[in-house]
Amino acid sequence: MAVVTRDGEAGVAAGASRPAAATRLLGSRLFASMAGLDWLAKVWWTCLSISLFAGLWELCWAMGWADPKLLPPPHIFLGNIAEQGRFFNTATRWQVGTSMTEGPSAFESVLITGAATTARVFAGLVIASVLAIGVGVLVRYYRFFDRLVLPTITLLSPVSPIAWLPVAIFLFGIGNAPAIFMVVVALFFHMVLATINQIDTVKTNFINVARTMGASKPQIYARVIVPAILPGMLQVLRMNLFGAWMVVLVAESTGVGYGMGQVIMLARNTFNPSLVFFTIAVIGVLGFAFDWLLRMAQRRILYWLPDTAERLRVL
């Protein structure tokens, strides 16, 4: 009887899986072609969204509502990139004996400055995440660490990053270090609290399954808790990415080093709205690209998560 039952079971399973596999194959093929279109559509919508905004602005200018000296429309501040780009050469700007026309070309200047700022954001983000996730896990892992460290972290987390600016300068002078420090300090405390919150919301059943299989505490942390909090943590990271971009500009503009923040400051001091808007445009593009990269990474790392946006779209 046992044999019959088992054969029956296998038969049913195989029978059920064959059409299912066929539909899945068809589905995935359909999906692949759709995904190609999807990508194009996304680019198209992005362009449309931006041109709509730019178009409104241009309209305001054409109608004479927006003063081109204060709110120069895109065609003006993007029109003289070559000229504006020169100001990005903040690295050598203050050196004695260097004139505006020497040094890297306008395009190179923009590239160098943009890269410098991006690198600071990236470095700050990496350092802050590693530290914060490490501390967050330790807080839950060791009770004494929790008691010792958590009150201070909670106390410091509402402090605005601006308040840390003097500290950054006292500690690191000027250059890359204070800007990176600012990013780290702005993200670290929140991310520790977010990590702890993520750990606390891991399904009890997941942990219990691992316990019944004889997993030790380090194994439960490494094999269950860390993968379980990963989706939430990457989300936290993305949210904080924008925070990092904001802080790095503040840090740079107040004299710690060169970079996009310095260019904004220069534009303000020389009353150059074109340069302000051009810089804003560059920052926007950089931030957008960074977020896109992070989203790609997220999809790679979190291969198991279903697409929530798709689920909501049917509503």
Partner: protein, 275 residues
């Protein structure tokens, strides 16, 4: 309650409960007595079904036996070891499926082996064997969210089997399945049980399921859960569930349960509407 009772039982018994009680959040305002004075002996290789009204503490008792929670009264032994911690010898299949979404089906099934540091080939081999038994060998490389609810529950069974436990604790594992699949799963479970020689503690709300599976049915009272009766079922296996004897047993179990379910309902209603 007496805290130190001499273990006067055959040390070969698979599970022994003596005066076991559990109060959730004991010592606080939210204290909530779920179980009281449970005395239970389960022989190696025995199939025992827990039957009782919802919320009477069946899951709680399984958690205690698994060692996931500490009893607040009495003691539990398993094969003469005091139960203080979870052990791979006692596998628990949870009421809600709890496969890790970041692992494939076969990785889920062999999770316990990975914990012990087994090689990839060995893990795949054991997982394949266990999945063969539940008829899901084809789904080996899928991810849990690609499976149906019933398939997931079968994977959970395979995962428990892969540990070769001596005591298999199952908390309403087939509750979400349709009648035919459930009947199939019951046959399959009986096969596995016979082959493995493990004791099975099986929680269900279905009297039919109890009649199909159990050597003994433990009927619980409403909360706090106590043992109302232990009802032995001596029908020969494989069982004919449509025989007159089976019908009699069903009727008697239904009678036993009815008062308790009524009482549980009355209590939960009183609980919901503050006097």
């Amino acid at each position: 309650m007496s805290s130190e009772i001499a273990p006067h039982f055959s040390s070969k018994d698979a599970v022994v409960c003596r005066g076991v009680g559990k109060t959730w959040a004991a010592g606080t305002k939210r204290a909530h007595e779920a179980l009281r004075d449970i005395d239970l002996d389960i022989k190696p290789g025995e199939f025992v079904v827990f039957l009782g009204p919802s919320g009477c503490g069946k899951s709680t008792l399984l958690y205690l036996i698994a060692g996931l929670e500490d009893a607040t009264g009495g003691q539990i032994w398993s094969f003469s070891d005091k139960v203080e911690m979870p052990s791979p010898e006692r596998s628990l299949i949870f009421q809600e499926t709890s496969l890790f979404p970041w692992l494939t089906v076969w990785q889920n099934v062999s999770f316990g082996l990975a914990i012990r540091g087994a090689s990839q080939e060995e893990r795949r081999k054991v997982a394949a064997e266990a999945l063969q038994r539940v008829g899901l060998i084809a789904a080996m490389d899928k991810r849990p969210d690609e499976l149906s609810g019933g398939m997931r529950q079968r994977v959970a069974v395979a995962r428990a089997l892969a540990m070769r436990p001596k005591v298999l604790l199952m908390d309403e594992p087939f509750a979400a399945l349709d009648v035919q699949t459930r009947a199939r799963m019951q046959d399959f479970l009986l096969d596995v049980w016979r082959d493995s020689g493990a004791s099975v503690l099986f929680v269900t709300h279905h009297i039919d399921e109890a009649v199909a599976l159990a050597d003994r049915v433990v009927v619980f009272t409403s909360r706090p859960g106590r043992i109302k009766t232990i009802y032995p079922i001596d029908l020969p296996r494989p069982r004919n569930l449509f025989s007159r004897e089976a019908e009699t047993i069903r009727i008697q179990l239904t009678e036993l349960l009815r008062d308790e379910v009524d009482r549980a309902f009355a209590e939960q209603e009183a609980f919901a509407t503050p006097a």
